[in-house]
């Protein structure tokens, strides 16, 4: 029940205090009661939980994490390649 999905804010209805958001291509509404007035803007990424926006997703931090992950992948690929060469060098079956 704690599943909270990232969504993008499409529009805001100030009068009803709700935001229209896009969650994996599905549009729906979410209450803004837990957010400070004016804090959520169109285009923001937010986390939804049982019909409310519970917080904004920090774009810089999200991008930073994704960048770190890419670096890990690149580095590991290199290491894996090196490991393969080492393994090959040490292969007991060499020459058989």
């Amino acid at each position: 029940m704690c599943l909270s999905i990232p969504s993008k804010v499409v529009s805001i209805d100030v009068e009803r205090n709700v935001a229209k958001v896009d969650t994996m291509g599905v549009t729906r509404e979410a209450g803004l009661e837990l957010m400070e007035e004016g804090d959520v803007k169109v285009g923001d990424y937010v986390l939804l939980h049982i019909g409310f926006i519970m917080n904004k997703i920090d774009e810089d931090d999200a991008l930073e994490s994704l960048k770190v992950y890419n670096e890990i992948l690149e580095k590991l690929d290199e290491e894996e390649r090196r490991q393969m060469v080492i393994n090959d060098d040490n292969c007991e079956n060499r020459g058989q």
């Binding site: 704690c2 909270s4 993008k8 837990l34 986390l47 774009e59 992950y69 890990i72």
Partner: protein, 381 residues
Amino acid sequence: MSELQLKDLYDGFRDPEVISGFAKLIEQEAKKLKKPINIMEVCGGHTHSIMKFGLPQLLPKNINFIHGPGCPVCIMPKERIDHAYALAEQEDVILLTLGDMIKVPGSRGSLQDARAKGADVRFLYSPLDALKIAEENPAKKIIFFAIGFETTTPMTTALIDIVLKRSIKNIFFHINHVTVPEVMVELIDSRDEHVDSYNNRIDAFLGPSHVSVITGSKIYEEFPRKYNRPVVVAGFEPVDVMEAILMIVKQFNEERCELEIEYKRLVTHDGNIKAQKLIEKYFEKASLFKWRGLGNVPKSGYRLKSEYSAIDAEKIYADILPKDEIEDHKLCICGDILRGMAKPQECTIFGTACKPSTPLGSCMVSSEGACAAYYKYGNLI
């Protein structure tokens, strides 16, 4: 820097290659560990993610998971479910609740059973749905059986706020919100004088994701400092969990014991202040809350402040709410599982008398509980 896409937020944090990348880094780092470490994931969302993505198989043998108290549904004692049942039985009541709550058996049956017998019990997607139901049923009393950790508590208070501001007269509340840090303390150092201080094998905590979005990481400060247990607040995508494990292992190797945040894209030190203020406005801590499988945990549950008695179903219906204490099942070892002293398979009735369709203990009740997760994904372990 390229702009963030919504797709990145789904896929980027569950990329199988990144997961195995982290598995390799963890393996390298774990070779340096002086002793095996047991990491408790407190939140059921983590348990689910860990089992679903088969993370235990990717980790070296000297890193173990202990599955924590998990989900708000699992820990709800039968006494509270019996309250909901009694309220639902009232002629003029519509009882509303969230999640799997309606499937969990109390001593007279589940809310689903109550519904089969004619009670009007409804399952909501959002507490806000209560407003429409109240409007459509002006002659009925709408009772919201509110459950959940800190993640869900502010949503209940937001509904209370609306009900009071709009002077809606037919919505009432039965509050069962519980808090995480108190139960973490309970698991490593019971403060209840009636309970023996616990044995436990918890070396570090994976801090909950969405609880922490609301509370901020500040609520875990005492764990590294006072209890010598590192805490890393983690998101609950599998990549988040793997990164957090790496951070924990590094702390041990570098002889640090700290509170760190892996889930920086959503968690700050202070959390969502507006949500916290709403909680403070309407709720106060009850001296004890009984957790199914664990017993009474001091200051771990909320109740409405006395000035809001007029909407407090627990007070209004005090006469009809059952007061009997109900023991947990004799053979159930959930308490030991939660403290890392036992695994679900060690329970003598695991998978036989106790299974998801007939849960006898808290850990089997919802898919987020440890026994249910082992039952479902057991062939992977």
